[in-house]
Symmetry: C2
Subunit: 192 residues, 2 copies
DNA sequence: CTCCAATCTTGACAGCGTAAAGATGAGCGA
DNA sequence: TCGCTCATCTTTACGCTGTCAAGATTGGAG
């Protein structure tokens, strides 16, 4: 039952955005009374947090699937995880916005959600360290570089789904092209 | 009157976040009936867009003020504009979230807001071109580099105010330190 | 069989965005 | 001066929302 409600909530967010995510709409989709969800989620914020958690799990799954394409090149694995990050955002923009939306942000009271988010960053961090072990990346402060890389792909993802880069960036192909170029620039640096 | 309503709306967002932004609350703050705002804003989305526009103007003002610190170093000016971007987000997190929030994102029907956003990117783009003219940055596809830089500072700003970097990143000083490090990494590149 | 705890339902309330219609009042041609 | 017009503001009302309170159902432990 809880799973049915959660599935319905994710489906609503996917189709109509976070603004359409309503406890009553979820209850209707699950064909129960408008108060039934309260026996599985404390309040609306808890439901939103559960949706976000589902999103983080999906993001992590797609990142892990993608880096399996190149098991032997640590540097490419690190880079591809970032590409997958942007691709996920463009493929599931509404879900991505919920994952980093204001309803979710102040939920410091939700350690499970925070753990899931840290898991994504942890994956990138692990890939970065493996890249450094392969001597393909300078061994500067690993955390600082990880933060920089995360910021780059996160900002790219956000601006893509906000349409700030134009409509061509909202397609997976266009977004991935941008992500390849941006991560390449980060690897190389901007100097001549 | 319209300005009074808008000021009240900005104040509410600043203090209590976008969730507290309500047509009726704005009307109460301006001591008018709950329907008076409709004679100045078509609907709630228009009010939110106006608040976001105000935010973009403030962001641009802070960026322009900051780059005046170093009028002679084009490369530093470009970099400082990015630092100011992150600093603004941390200083006005609720406003920043409205500027890039979902209510604002789908408002492609609001060309004024879009123009204001493009103005911010245009400023960064201009500073980048001036950096290139000074031969301190390689003259690759300027738009691509601009997009990369914008993504980096935007993602850094978002993750800072989401608390993903921990509490120390939510202070202006901490966020600026992160922004210096991240932009430095982008300039230098990550290779050894 | 009984009882209890978990689960679900019904009903109510205030707050929200917004539609419809009435009130107010300043500006202006006669 | 009168009376019209139009922009502005108010009042009232509707359906939607999240949530509280209280009753109904039901399946398993004693």
């Amino acid at each position: 039952m809880r799973q049915a409600l959660l599935d319905a909530a994710v489906e609503i967010v996917r189709r109509d955005g976070a603004g359409a995510l309503t406890l009553r709409a979820v209850a209707r989709a699950a064909r129960v009374s408008h108060m039934a969800p309260y026996h599985h989620f404390a309040d609306k914020a808890a439901l939103v947090a559960a949706v976000a958690r589902e999103g983080f799990r999906g993001l992590r799954r797609e990142m892990e699937a993608r880096i399996e394409r190149c098991p032997d090149d640590p540097r490419a694995r690190f880079r591809e995880s970032g590409i997958a990050y942007v691709a996920f955002a463009v493929k599931h923009p509404n879900l991505f916005r919920v994952m980093f939306g204001p309803e979710t942000a102040d939920t410091d009271a939700n350690p499970e959600l925070q753990a899931e988010a840290r898991g994504v960053f942890g994956l990138m961090q692990r890939l970065l360290k493996q890249s450094q072990a392969g001597y393909a990346i300078r061994e500067d402060d690993a955390r600082q570089i990880g933060l920089t890389a995360w910021s780059l792909v996160h900002g790219l993802a956000m601006l893509c789904i906000d349409g700030q880069f134009g409509p061509e960036a909202t397609s997976p192909a266009g977004a991935e092209r941008l992500a390849y170029a941006a991560t390449g620039a980060l690897f190389r640096g901007l100097r001549r």
